[in-house]
């Protein structure tokens, strides 16, 4: 039985929280201004419903917000931490990396830190250099952390629920540009989604396109255009960056022989490099050509809309790159 209704990502977020709050008293949320709904409305109505002890407004004290969550998690609760913009999490990096990520290990398994650190991520209408970053690669590099990068309302709901129930610290990075995008959510399916499982968004045999977060939508747009030229793309939405779903990507690459990884983050040192080099190493003999990556240039995000646009990987960029991959392959076989 399904009960699909269309809702925005922000609404899917409040739905997930409402469901988990109702199930478990140990779940609570803290962050600046979340009592009045949060910057993007992703907490709308929750303080009225669950009270100020469950939806806690805080001082502008990012280090304390995260540190308090860590301490509270050690004592048995499951705090959902709102960082407002992923950029501000930089004000709490010791708490995230030296404390949350390491506590279980340092203390030999005596402790766990089941927190969800929400970090709205990426471009958002000329928010400029200090409000636009995509730093998922940092967290994926860090032992102890799970990193989730959802792209749809249904995933925000299903993966946020899973993140809340996970016994590890989870960095949960909603794409800022997608809060108002609507998508179908199945009200009756209250099960959390599995962390670490990719979603196939489109099937095809010519090229595998792996992406996550906002760029999934761009990749799908590109896939449409490629289909017009009879190039069929297998579009995989990774959803979780760590652990990432190697099986799904490997299986697809074995079929298509071509892989393009696309993300909004800076390409240099981005997590695309991990995926590309892992697949290059482990599926080398299935590859018809080199794995390609597309990401932002290594520049801060500019304010003027046309400067900001230089960060964006467009559907056109993807189409061009895929066509080049296929042509290079053909040249090769023709020679």
């Amino acid at each position: 039985m399904t009960n699909l209704i269309a809702m925005t990502a922000a609404e899917a977020s409040t739905l997930a929280l409402r469901e988990e709050f109702a199930l478990d008293e140990n779940v609570w949320a803290l962050g600046e201004d979340i009592g009045r709904g949060g910057v993007f409305g992703q907490y709308a109505g929750l303080q009225d419903e669950f009270g100020p002890q469950r939806v806690v407004d805080t001082p502008i004290s990012e280090a304390a917000i995260l540190g308090v969550a860590v301490g509270a998690a050690m004592v048995g609760s499951r705090p959902v931490v709102e960082m407002r913009f992923s950029d501000f999490a930089l004000c709490a990096m010791d708490e995230m990396i030296n404390q949350a990520a390491k506590a279980r290990y340092m203390f030999g398994g005596q402790s766990k830190v089941p927190i969800v650190v929400r970090e709205p991520t990426g471009l958002w209408r000329s928010a400029a250099a200090q409000h636009s970053q995509s730093l998922e690669a940092w967290y994926a590099h860090m032992p102890g952390l799970i990193v989730v990068c959802p792209s749809t309302p249904a995933d925000i709901r299903g993966l946020l629920k899973a993140s809340i129930r996970a016994d590890d610290p989870v960095v949960f990075m909603e794409p800022k540009g997608q809060w108002q995008r609507t998508g179908e959510v199945d009200l009756d399916d209250q099960e959390p989604y599995e962390l670490g499982k990719a979603a196939g968004r489109r099937e095809g045999d010519d090229v595998t396109i792996v992406s996550w977060s906002t760029q999934v939508h761009v990749a799908l747009e590109a896939a449409e255009r490629l289909a017009e030229q009879s190039i069929e793309s297998d579009v995989i939405d990774l959803r979780t960056i760590f652990p990432w779903d190697k099986d799904s990507v490997s299986q697809s690459v074995r079929r298509t022989g071509r892989l393009l990884v696309v993300h909004e983050a800076v390409a240099v040192g981005g997590f695309g490099g991990e995926i590309a080099s892992w697949i290059s190493e482990h599926e080398f003999h299935h590859l018809k050509g080199p794995v390609a990556r597309l990401g932002a240039p290594r520049i801060p995000v500019g304010y003027a809309p046309n400067l900001e646009d230089q960060i964006r990987v467009t559907a056109e960029n993807i189409v061009d790159r895929v066509i080049r991959m296929i042509n290079e392959g053909e040249e090769e076989t023709q020679v």
């Binding site: 950029d87 400029a128 520049i299 003027a304």
Partner: protein
């Protein structure tokens, strides 16, 4: 002392600077509605006396660090309106070439070392600027503006302590508008707030009505004289009110209307205007000067509107000297 920096006792000059800020903000809000200004805009409306009274005592080579709500500081420090407005419009001839926008507006040529999108971050940068000024043996003064919300961030403690330990020429101005975004700051602040904390760290502290230009002029004067003569850092706690919402689009409807109305009635601009007239200044002269301010702002708006966007290739410039990416490089 340039046009934007009135003499310490010049209420009229101060009034006109405040009006320049107010008119600039109103124009910027309008332009934001017209989708000419992008991103988030934090208006300085209602707080104009603070930047004005403080900056009246600064030389052009004095330095200043500002916040997300930085237009007023920038104007009071003497930045020209047209390149400022161009920056907000994201144009090539903006102060930052369109790269920074409202939250990163800066004019290093007048010592305005930048607005900052991270609450409280400018406090440690200001300590650093002052550290360098002192290391060089210069008599420049550094001013650092921030809001009442910033007093709960770690860099507040670290920056003030640093300034005190190294006895630095810096004035910290806490603009206590009683709000941080949609929060009443008092509910999130232990003890008596910024001033008490500054005193506990050893700083000389001045408490002042930030809605009164005469009071702010006096406080600024005292602070600058202490700091410029090498007597260490000063903290000014300026009480004011945020008349608008947090941003240009925030209605802040959760606020008590009585309170908002009471504070709107304490709007420093009409009060100051009335005082100036009551002290015998001719209204027709004032009207003429006010018209000039409005014309200046309108000109800035028109100029910004007529200006070109930056060429897209500019996105690849000014990243770094070594390892700057090539244009189009991913």
């Amino acid at each position: 002392m340039n046009a934007a920096q009135p003499g310490p006792d010049g209420l009229i000059d101060g009034y006109l600077t405040m009006l320049r800020i107010r008119e600039f903000e109103l124009a910027a809000i309008r332009a934001h509605g017209e989708k000419l200004v992008h991103g988030t805009l934090h208006p300085y409306i209602g707080q104009e006396a603070i930047a004005t009274g403080m900056c009246a005592h600064l030389r052009q080579d004095d330095l200043m660090l500002s916040t997300h709500r930085g237009h007023g500081h920038c104007i009071a420090k003497g930045a020209p309106l047209a390149p400022m407005m161009s920056e907000l419009f994201g144009r090539e001839n903006g102060l930052c070439g369109g790269k920074g926008g409202s939250m990163h507006v800066a004019d290093f040529s007048v010592g305005m070392l930048g607005a900052n999108g991270v609450v409280g971050a400018n406090i440690v940068l200001a300590a650093g600027a002052a550290h360098e000024v002192k290391r060089r043996g210069e008599d420049r003064v550094v001013v650092c503006f921030f809001g009442d919300g910033a007093v709960n961030r770690g860099p507040f403690l670290e920056g003030l302590n640093w300034a005190q330990v190294f006895d630095l020429p810096v004035i910290f101005v806490c603009e206590d508008n009683q709000h941080s975004a949609s929060t009443r700051t008092s509910t999130m602040t232990g003890g008596e707030g910024g001033g008490a904390r500054a005193r506990s760290i050893g700083l000389t502290t001045i408490d002042v009505d930030g809605n009164s230009l005469p009071d702010m002029l006096a406080a600024g004067k005292e602070a600058v004289s202490i700091v410029r003569s090498g007597q260490g850092p000063v903290f000014i706690h300026a009480r004011t009110f945020r008349v608008t919402g947090h941003t240009a689009t925030d209605l802040a409807q959760w606020r008590d209307t009585e309170e908002v109305e009471r504070h709107a009635a304490a709007d420093p601009l009409p009060l100051l205007r009335a005082r100036i007239l009551s002290e015998g200044h001719r209204e027709d002269e004032l009207l003429a000067e006010e018209r000039r301010v409005r014309t200046d702002v309108q000109l800035a708006y028109d100029k910004a509107l007529a200006s070109a966007l930056p060429p897209a290739t500019r996105a690849f410039e000014d990243v770094q000297v070594t390892g700057n990416p090539q244009i189009g490089a991913f």
